[in-house]
Amino acid sequence: MKPWRQVGLLAKREFLERARSKPFIITMTLLAVAILAIGPAVNLLSGGEGKATKIGLIGMEPPGIEQELHAQAVLFDMVIEVDRFPTRSGAENALAEGEVAVVLVDGSEIVFHTESSSQLTALIHGAVDTTVKTEALSELGLSEGEIAAVVEPIPMEVTALEEQNVQDEAKRGAAFAGAILLYISIIMFGQFVAMGTVEEKQNRVVEVILSRVRPWQILVGKVVGIGVLGLLQLAIFAGAAYISAQLADLPDIDVAAIGLPIIASVFFWFILGYTFYAFLYAAVGSTVSRQEDLQGAIMIPIVLIMPGYLLAIFAAENPEAVLPTVASWLPPWAPFVMPVRMAAGVAQPWEIAVAIVGTVLGAIALVWIGARVYSGALLRTGGKVKLREAWRAAAE
């Protein structure tokens, strides 16, 4: 019996027992459905862009105003509809109900409900101005062509020196979502590792296992089995998020070009970050004998993870600030901060290399330290084992 074959059996049990557990399946399904629903929900809430803006008219109308409003709307890249109201109170009600965005009274007053829109004001003002001037000019006997030449808006070329890049915005948002997913996944599956360790100690099954395998095999089997489950959940969530983004009406954003690299990066950093923290979780989990005592013990990984998460959020807005930059190089925080800085396109290749190598070395060190503490603490039941005692016990 090869030792790695046993590790495989242990990993398989960890994976299957958890993957089959009802609470896990239910929670994961609910979350996946919730993520899937975000895209369509955003469409509903935004009320669909490109939908016609309604303009109400009452009282005296300048001749040809409706036609001119439509003509002006084209200049503003808008679609409008015109509604006529017999009374001012009717129009005001429609404003209050949100049925119309704005009301033009007697061709001389523009009424909004709460906030005025300068865009709509300019649009209506332009339309009224044009119709009034057209009428005046035609009374002066100018031909249609001459009138058009006077009132036609002078075309202007509009350029922005720096185009606001919707893609970059979306990329940042996706990286931010990825950071949250990474944080939740590492905390959740790290906690599973710690809980599984305590559970085996608490119901004493660990001695039955230890009569067949070495402590490091249990440890590695547990971390691998739960890690594979983590990857599966990540794949489901990332898939749901990707489909959700496709379902959302985002005409200016290339979901595949932004989403796929972010998903790949979340997977990559999950494997590194999870490995780093899972062995730490296992080590601290092995020092207690009851689930009730676990909350205190896992403060150690939590205290390490929290700054990484907060810096990742900070880095989403300020990827080049000093703190997130330095944090993105260092093993405990690199898995959270570096993917955000990479998505923002500010991480240099050498920085990424430092982060990866550092995290891998850190993870190797934690595997070694974690395995030793775990071995030393596994058969010590009763109270809480001090980390130092567990470390020494492993040498005995």
Partner: protein, 293 residues
């Protein structure tokens, strides 16, 4: 053949094993006895490499014991434990496969032992749903299913009802007859006497008495003397005879050359003798003598 030689282990200031050693020959059942805290569990854990002794050796059939050998050992720890939420059959198969059985072998072995232990219809349920006694049987099945060559059971009879005790005793006898070497600990000395052929008594980390039970009894210089006079236990006081009496005993221990005729005469003088038995010591007597209580 399992052999422990001169094994010592201390935990801080506490000496758990102090040069302990014993031998179990293949196909024999050894009762491993001792008061609480004498070092029984520590010695068993040493065999499985769960505790590394400071000195001493453990050998199996003359060779060192490593991971490969241990896969041929079955262990039922004192601290009972299986996965409470996992199906009984599934976890027994899991443990058997960890011991090196193939999937098919593990399934067959688990089915077999669940049947033998009366749990055939419980395999699909969670361990949590079993009664205390049945959980105990499932625990035993975890040790037995890999078909071990050496079986080490820490208090296997604790918590079993009399029928369970008898059927486990029978199972152990059958296994031993089939060549399995068995070591078990117990505080139920009458039961041990009934089941095992060899004993090792450990006290304060040292094995104070070990060997074949029959030989030990025969070589003992003590005899058990049970006398009932007028329907009550009666303890003689005869000059020149040292009488050993323990708390709660209705018999006494005398030297094997005690003057039986004088003792009987003294009993007769005290009243009507209903019972007078002069016999080799029982295991209980040997145990009391060995651990000095």
């Amino acid at each position: 053949m399992l052999e422990l030689v001169n094994v010592s282990k201390r935990f801080g200031d506490v000496v758990a094993l102090d040069g302990a050693g014993f031998v179990v020959e293949s196909g024999r059942i050894l009762g491993f006895l001792g008061p609480n805290g004498a070092g029984k569990t520590t010695a068993m854990r040493v065999v499985f490499g769960l505790i590394r002794p400071e000195s001493g050796t453990v050998t199996w059939n003359g060779g060192p014991v490593g991971p490969a050998e241990r896969l041929r050992f079955g262990y039922m720890p004192e601290e009972r434990g299986l996965y409470p939420k996992m199906k009984v059959h599934d976890q027994l198969v899991h443990f058997s496969r960890l011991s090196g059985l193939s999937r098919a072998e593990a399934n067959d072995a688990v089915d077999h032992w669940l049947g033998v232990l009366g749990l055939a219809d419980r395999g699909g349920g969670k361990l949590d749903d079993l009664s205390h006694g049945n959980q105990q049987r499932a625990q035993l099945a975890a040790a037995l299913a890999p078909n071990p060559d050496l079986l080490i059971l820490d208090e296997p009879f604790a918590g079993l009802d009399p029928i369970g005790v008898e059927s486990l005793a029978e199972t152990l006898r059958e296994l031993a007859a089939g060549g399995v070497t068995i070591v078990f600990s117990s505080h139920q000395l009458d039961l041990v006497e009934d089941v095992c052929q060899d004993v090792a008594i450990i006290n304060e980390g040292r094995v104070v008495l070990s060997g074949r039970l029959g030989d030990i009894k025969n070589h003992s210089k003590k005899r058990r003397l049970t006398i009932d006079v007028d329907g009550e236990p009666w303890i003689p006081e005869v000059p020149g005879v040292e009488v050993v009496v323990g708390p709660g005993l209705s018999h006494c221990i005398v030297d094997d050359d005690a003057p039986v005729a004088d003792l009987l005469a003294a009993a007769n003088a005290a009243g009507t003798v209903n019972r007078f038995v002069f016999e080799p010591p029982r295991l209980t007597d040997l145990f009391r003598e060995a651990v000095g209580s």
